[in-house]
Symmetry: C2
Subunit: 332 residues, 2 copies
Amino acid sequence: MTSIYDIAKMAGVSAATVSRVINDERYVSPETREKVQKVLRKTGFVPNANASSLTKKRTNTIAVVVPDITNPFFTEIIRGIEEQASAQKIAVILFNTDEDMDKERGALRFLMEKRADALIIASTASFAKHITSHLSAEIPLVLLDRQPKGLKADLVRSDDHRGAQMLVDYLVALGHREIGFIKGKDGISTARLRLEGYLQALEKHGLGPDEKLIVSGDFKQEGGREGMLKLLALACPPTCVITSNNLEALGALAAIRQMGLSIPEDISLVCFDDLELASQVYPFLTVVAQPVRTMGAVAAQLALERLDGNVQKPREVVMQMTLLERKSARRV
Amino acid sequence: MTSIYDIAKMAGVSAATVSRVINDERYVSPETREKVQKVLRKTGFVPNANASSLTKKRTNTIAVVVPDITNPFFTEIIRGIEEQASAQKIAVILFNTDEDMDKERGALRFLMEKRADALIIASTASFAKHITSHLSAEIPLVLLDRQPKGLKADLVRSDDHRGAQMLVDYLVALGHREIGFIKGKDGISTARLRLEGYLQALEKHGLGPDEKLIVSGDFKQEGGREGMLKLLALACPPTCVITSNNLEALGALAAIRQMGLSIPEDISLVCFDDLELASQVYPFLTVVAQPVRTMGAVAAQLALERLDGNVQKPREVVMQMTLLERKSARRV
DNA sequence: TTGTATGCGTTATCAA
DNA sequence: TTGATAACGCATACAA
C-alpha cells in the first residue's frame, strides 16, 4: 500500500509536509503545496484513516445501536442521524440488537474496539450496568427513545406520557369505555411511561383500570399478536385497544383478522409510533407519531457537540407527539 | 488510554505475549495465558481494532452504499447483510446516496479512507468509471440490484425481465390492453431491464407499445407522482399502470388520489418491489417482490468469501421474483 | 516554512 | 514458549 512516505519521495518533500497538505494546514508554501497536490492527484492517493485515528484519537465514526433497523421508526431515525453525520464527514456504524441483551453487549464491545467517537443507542436493557461497564466514560453517549436506569446521559425522546393521554382522550371522545392496552417490553422506560400515561388518562376520565384489559407485550409483532388474542378471548373484550408501538399493532392486526374480525367495525385499534410508508399507501392506522427524522438529527447533533469539546451536563430533549387520526377507530 | 504494554507490565510479560493471548494464538503456556487473562478481565481492557488493522491489513468492516435506507427494499437488504456480517464479527458502515452521484462519490472516497474490507453497493450510476477509479481493485465488490456499465464484479439481483413479464401477463389476463409504464431512473440497469421486459411482454400478447403510455421516472416518489399525472392527463389514459419500483407506486398513488380517482375502480396500479410492513397493514398493492432479506445475506456472503481469499471470477446470483396479488388491479 | 524524530497501539519476525 | 524489535501509516513537537 502506498503511504505518505511514497508521496513524499515522489514530490521531493518530507512526509510531514505531505501530511500538512493533506490536512490543509497552514505553514505550507503555495509552491510546495501545489507540488504535493499534483502528486496526490496523479497517484490517486487515499490516506489511511485508521492510521491517522491512531494519533488523532478520533475515528470520525459514530455507532448506532437499535433493536431493529427494519422498524420504520428506527429507519427514519437512522436516516436523520446519517444525514447529519455524513454532512460532517462522519461515518455511521450500524448494529441491530433484535431486543437481545447479548447482541447489545456484543455491539458495545465491538464499537469500543473500533473506538467509535460516539454512541447513539436505543437500548434493549432495563438497567445500564452493562453500558456503563462496557463503555468508557469519555465517549459521548446519546440515549434514544429509551432510558435505562442508572445512567446520566443525553436523551432524545418523545413525551410518551402525553402521547398516551392523547390516545385515551381520543378514544374516550369516541365513546369508548373499555380500552385495552398491550404493554411494551418489560423494563423499558418507554413502555412504562406509556402505560402510566394510559392509566392516568383513564383515571382522569373516571375510568378505573381493568387489570384484565392490560396484557403484556414485547414491542414486537408476535407479542402484539398474542396480546390481542388474549384480549379477544376475554368474556367481555374491550371495544378498542392501544398497543405500545407500531410493530405490536401489526401483530394485533393479524390477530384480529385471524379471528375473522375487522377494524374498526368489530374493534378499534390505535398505537404509538407511525408506520411511515405504510400509512401513505393506505392511511389506516390512527397513531400518535414522533418526529422521527428530526429526532435522529438531534441525537446526532448532541453527540457531535460533545465531540467538539463543549462539555456540558446531560441534556434531555423531549419532542411532542402528534395524533394522526385515520380510520382504525370508530365512534361507539 | 491503556494499551497492551500496560497490560504486559501488570502481568509481568511482554506485549507480544499479551497480543498472543488476546488473539488466541498457540504457543502460549496455559499458566501465562491465565495470568494475562486475569489482568485483562480485571482491567476490562479493550484492544484498539484500528491499531491492529494497521498491521493486519483488515478492518473487519464492510461498507454498504444504498440510495435510501428509508426504502423498505433496501432496509430489508441491509438487515440481511447485517445479520451475516455481525455473526462473523464484522461491522457494517452505512451510506445513503439519495440517488446523488456526488454523495456516492463521497461515500466511496470515505470508505476507501476507512479501508473497508469490502463494499456492497446499489449504485446510482449508469457507468462504473467512478467506482473503478475510486476503488482499489483488490477490495471485494458486490453489486446489488443494479449493474453499472463497465464493471466486472459479483452481482446479486432479481430477474427483472421475468418480473415485468409476470406483471404484464397478470394485467392482460385481467383484460387490460392499455398498460401504462412509469420508467425507473435513467441509465440504471434495473430500470432498463424492467422496461425491456414490459415491452417484450406486450409484444408477446400482440399489444404494440404505445409511446404515450410510457413516461419517465426516477425511482422516487416525486417522479412517480409526476409520471402518473402525465398519464392521467392523456386524452385516453391507460386502464392500468406499472411503476418501476415501490416508491414510484406511492407517488402514483398520491397522484391518483389527488385527481379524485380511486384504485382499482378508476385505474389499476401494480409495481416492482414490495412495501413490506405497508403490505401487512393493508394488503393493497399488487407487486412482484424480490426475496430481499435473502439477497442481503447472499451479498454479504459473496463479499466475505472473497475476503477469505478464495479468489474467483465474478459471480452473478439471479433471484426469482414472486407475484403478490392484492387489490390494486381489477378485471376490465 | 520545512524536516527530523518520536509516538499512537498492534502485530510479525526473528532470536533466544 | 517468550521477548526484543521493527514495521504498519500517519501526526506532531521540536529543531532548523
